[in-house]
C-alpha cells in the first residue's frame, strides 16, 4: 500500500485530467465546428463556443450531400452502408469462428491440427501482403461495389477462431460428458451449452469487430468505385478536398461526429458484457 500523501493524489488526478483533455479536446472542437458556418470555421481562431447552426448542418449532411464539388453522396446513405458492413463483418466473423473453433476443439478428424495451424499462420501475414491477391479474387468473382465484396474477405478471421478455441479449451471435459450422457448430440451441445457459455466472449468480440468493421478504409477504398457504396469513413475523406475547391469544414465535422456515434453507442450498450467477457472466469 503506497503511503497516502495528498500531493500524490493531486498529481494523479492532474495527469488523468490532462490526459482526458488531450483526448477529448479535439472531439469538442469537432463538435463546435459542426455547429457553425463554413466561414466561421475557416476564420482563425475558431470560436470555441457552439454555434447556432447545429440542426441546419446535420440536416444538410444527412440528406443533402455536401454540394456539387466533392461529389460525396448523402451521409445518410453512407452511414447505412457502414452499418451494414460493420454488422455483417462482426456477425459473420463470430459465426464462422465459433463453428471453426468448435470443430477444432471437439472433433477428431484428419489434418485437424494442420488446419488449425494454417488458420493461425494467416495471422502472421500482414494485410498489405494479402490485399492484392484478395482484390484479384474479388474482382474476378464480380463482387466489386457490392456488400459481399465489402464484407466477405474481412469475415474470415484467425484471431476470433483462436480466441474461441482458447475459451472452449477451458470448458471442463465433464460438462461435455454430462451432456453426452443426457443424450445431447454435438449440435445440441453447441446450441444449448457452448453458445450460452460463450455469450460474454461473443459480446466482447462483437464490440471489437464492429468498431474494426466500421473503421475499415483501405479495403472499401479498393473495392468500391460507386459513390453509393462508400462507407462513411471514405465519405469523410472525400469531403476534405485538396486543390481548387473549398472544403466545407463545418459539414465535414458534422459528418465526422455522425460517424463516431454508432461505435460509441455499441460500446456503451455492450459495456457491461465487454468487460465481463475479458475478465470473467466463472464456471
Amino acid at each position: 500500500m503506497v503511503e497516502r500523501r495528498p500531493w500524490l493524489d493531486i498529481l494523479a488526478h492532474a495527469i488523468l485530467i490532462i490526459g482526458l483533455v488531450i483526448v477529448a479536446f479535439p472531439l469538442y472542437v469537432t463538435f463546435v465546428a459542426s455547429t457553425q458556418t463554413a466561414q466561421e470555421v475557416a476564420s482563425a481562431p475558431m470560436s470555441l463556443i457552439p454555434g447556432p447552426h447545429l440542426v441546419d448542418n446535420y440536416r444538410q449532411v444527412l440528406f443533402g450531400g455536401t454540394g456539387g464539388n466533392n461529389g460525396a453522396p448523402p451521409v445518410g446513405r453512407m452511414m447505412v452502408v457502414s452499418l451494414i458492413m460493420a454488422l455483417a463483418i462482426s456477425i459473420g466473423k463470430i459465426a464462422i469462428s465459433l463453428i471453426s473453433a468448435f470443430a477444432v476443439v471437439y472433433f477428431r478428424f484428419p489434418f485437424r491440427m494442420f488446419c488449425f495451424w494454417m488458420i493461425f499462420v494467416t495471422l502472421m501475414l500482414p494485410v498489405e501482403v494479402r490485399i492484392a491477391p484478395t482484390y484479384k479474387v474479388v474482382a474476378d468473382l464480380g463482387l466489386l461495389n457490392s456488400y459481399a465484396g465489402l464484407t466477405l474477405p474481412l469475415i474470415a478471421s484467425a484471431t476470433a477462431t483462436f480466441l474461441f478455441r482458447q475459451f472452449f479449451l477451458t470448458i471442463p471435459d465433464e460438462l461435455v460428458e454430462a451432456a453426452r450422457i443426457d443424450g445431447a448430440g454435438p449440435l445440441r451441445f453447441f446450441r444449448d451449452v457452448l453458445l450460452p457459455l460463450s455469450k460474454t466472449s461473443m459480446a466482447a468480440l462483437f464490440v471489437i469487430q464492429f468498431i474494426y468493421g466500421w473503421n475499415q478504409y483501405l479495403w472499401p477504398l479498393l473495392v468500391t468505385t460507386q459513390e453509393d457504396m462508400y462507407p462513411i469513413v471514405i465519405g469523410i475523406k472525400r469531403m476534405i478536398s485538396g486543390g481548387d475547391s473549398v472544403t466545407e469544414w463545418n459539414l465535414t465535422m458534422a459528418t465526422a461526429m455522425l460517424a463516431m456515434l454508432p461505435p460509441v453507442l455499441v460500446v456503451i450498450l455492450m459495456q457491461k458484457w465487454f468487460v465481463k467477457g475479458l475478465v470473467d472466469a466463472e464456471k
Binding site: 471442463p172 465433464e174 460438462l175 460428458e177 454430462a178 451432456a179 453426452r180 450422457i181 443426457d182 443424450g183 445431447a184 448430440g185 445440441r188 444449448d192 451449452v193 450460452p196 457459455l197 466463472e282 464456471k283
Partner: protein, 362 residues
C-alpha cells in the same frame, strides 16, 4: 433397474498400454456395487466404459442382457454423477435436472413431475431457481444426483462423488446415498478410492489393483477373508499388519530378519509349515500382553476412545488398535517394550510370499 454384466472386459490404449486386464462379473438387478482401489488402478476407466465415454477394447458389457459396446452414452439408459458435479453453469437447478428429459422429448408436465419428485427427495425444492454458482458443494452434489434420478435410468454410475466434499459432509452424503438406494433400488456402480465408503455402501465390491480385479465379494467377505496381501492392506484402517515369515516343520515362526513370533502350534496350519509365507494380523485383532512377539512402542496416535500404537519388532512395523483403557493398564508409552499377540477369537491370515495371494483353504 437392470442387470449389468462384464464379460472378459479389457482396455488397452493406442500405444499398447493395457489398463484393464480382464473383468468378469455379473451384477444383479438392484445391486449396489462399489469399485474400489488406489489411484491408477483402472476403476474410473472401467466405469467410463460402462458409461460409453471410453471404448471397450475387448470383451463385452451388457446392460439388461443387451450388449452396449457400440451404443452412445445417451442411448444406454444410464445416468452418471460426476466427481466435480458437472452442472451446466448457465442453467438453473430445475433446467439442469430437466435437460436430459427435454432432449428425450418428455412432456412438460412429466418433466415437472419428475423434477419436483427428485427435488423433494433431495430437499432441493427451495433451490430450483438457483444457478450452480449460488450453491454450496453439498447442494451441487445433490443437484447432480437429482439430475441422475429424474432420468429413472437402468443403471446409476457414481464417479467418486464425495471426493470434493469436506469430511463431515461426506459422512452425511454417504448416508443419503444409502437411503436413496434403499428407496429407489436402482442398480448402481460406485467408484471410490476410499475404503470406508466402499465398506459402508457396497452390497458387493470389486477391489482393483493395476487393472486386475483382486477380489470380488461382499464387504465382510473382503474384510474377513482378503484374497491377497493387496486387498488385506487396502481394506481396513489402519491396514493389516503383514509380516514376511518362514515357518518350520514344528510350527515355529521366524520373521525373515530373524526374530521370533510365538504362536501356539494349533494356530499354525499344516499348509504353511516348511514354507516362507506372509502372516497377516489386523490391528484391531491384536491384544496387549499376549503371547506373540515383543515389540517396542514407537508412536501412539490417539483417536479418543481408541489409540493406534505403532510398534517395531526387529525390522517389522506393526500397528495395534486398542482402547485407551487397555493401553493405560498396559502402561504403553513411547519406548516401552510390550508383548503383543493375535486375539484368539479372530483368524490369522496367511498369504503366499511370491504371489501375495491367500493360501487356499485357509
Amino acid at each position: 433397474m437392470a442387470t449389468l454384466s462384464f464379460r472378459n472386459v479389457t482396455k488397452t490404449y493406442s500405444g499398447g498400454i493395457a489398463v484393464i486386464h480382464g473383468i468378469d462379473m455379473d451384477v444383479g438387478d438392484g445391486e449396489f456395487i462399489v469399485i474400489v482401489g488406489p489411484s491408477g488402478c483402472g476403476k474410473s476407466t472401467l466405469m467410463r466404459m460402462v458409461a460409453g465415454l471410453e471404448t471397450v477394447t475387448g470383451g463385452e458389457i451388457l446392460i439388461d442382457d443387451k450388449v452396449v459396446n457400440q451404443l452412445e452414452p445417451g442411448e444406454r439408459d444410464i445416468a452418471m454423477v460426476f466427481q466435480n458435479y458437472a452442472l451446466y453453469p448457465h442453467m438453473s437447478v430445475f433446467e439442469s435436472m430437466a435437460y436430459g428429459l427435454k432432449i428425450r422429448k418428455f412432456s412438460k408436465d412429466e418433466i415437472k413431475r419428475r423434477v419436483d419428485a427428485a427435488a423433494s427427495i433431495l430437499e432441493l425444492g427451495h433451490l430450483l431457481d438457483r444457478r450452480p454458482r449460488q450453491l454450496s458443494g453439498g447442494q451441487r452434489q445433490r443437484v447432480a444426483m437429482g439430475r441422475a434420478i429424474v432420468r429413472e435410468p437402468k443403471v446409476f454410475l457414481f464417479d467418486e462423488p464425495l471426493s470434493n466434499l469436506d469430511a463431515k459432509l461426506r459422512v452425511a452424503m454417504r448416508l443419503e446415498i444409502l437411503k436413496l438406494h434403499r428407496r429407489l433400488g436402482t442398480t448402481s456402480l460406485y467408484v471410490t478410492h476410499d475404503q470406508v465408503e466402499a465398506m459402508t455402501l457396497a452390497q458387493r465390491m470389486i477391489v482393483m489393483n493395476q487393472g486386475l480385479p483382486e477380489q470380488i465379494g461382499t464387504p465382510m467377505e473382503v474384510f474377513d477373508r482378503p484374497a491377497s496381501t493387496f486387498v488385506a492392506s487396502f481394506i481396513g484402517s489402519p491396514p493389516m499388519n503383514l509380516a514376511e515369515v518362514s515357518v518350520d516343520g514344528t510350527g515355529l515362526i521366524k520373521t525373515l530378519d530373524g526374530t521370533d513370533i510365538l504362536l501356539s502350534s494349533d494356530r499354525v496350519p499344516q499348509q504353511v509349515r516348511n514354507k516362507k509365507v506372509v502372516l497377516g494380523m489386523r490391528p484391531e485383532h491384536m491384544v496387549l500382553h499376549a503371547r506373540g512377539l515383543q515389540a517396542e512402542v514407537e508412536m501412539v496416535e490417539t483417536l479418543g476412545s481408541e489409540q493406534l500404537v505403532h510398534m517395531r519388532h526387529g525390522k517389522t512395523q506393526l500397528v495395534v488398535r486398542a482402547t485407551t483403557r487397555e493401553l493405560n493398564e498396559a502402561k504403553a508409552k513411547v519406548g516401552a517394550i510390550i508383548d503383543i499377540g493375535p486375539d484368539d477369537r479372530h483368524a490369522l491370515h496367511w498369504f503366499d510370499l511370491e504371489t501375495g495371494k491367500r493360501i487356499p483353504g485357509l
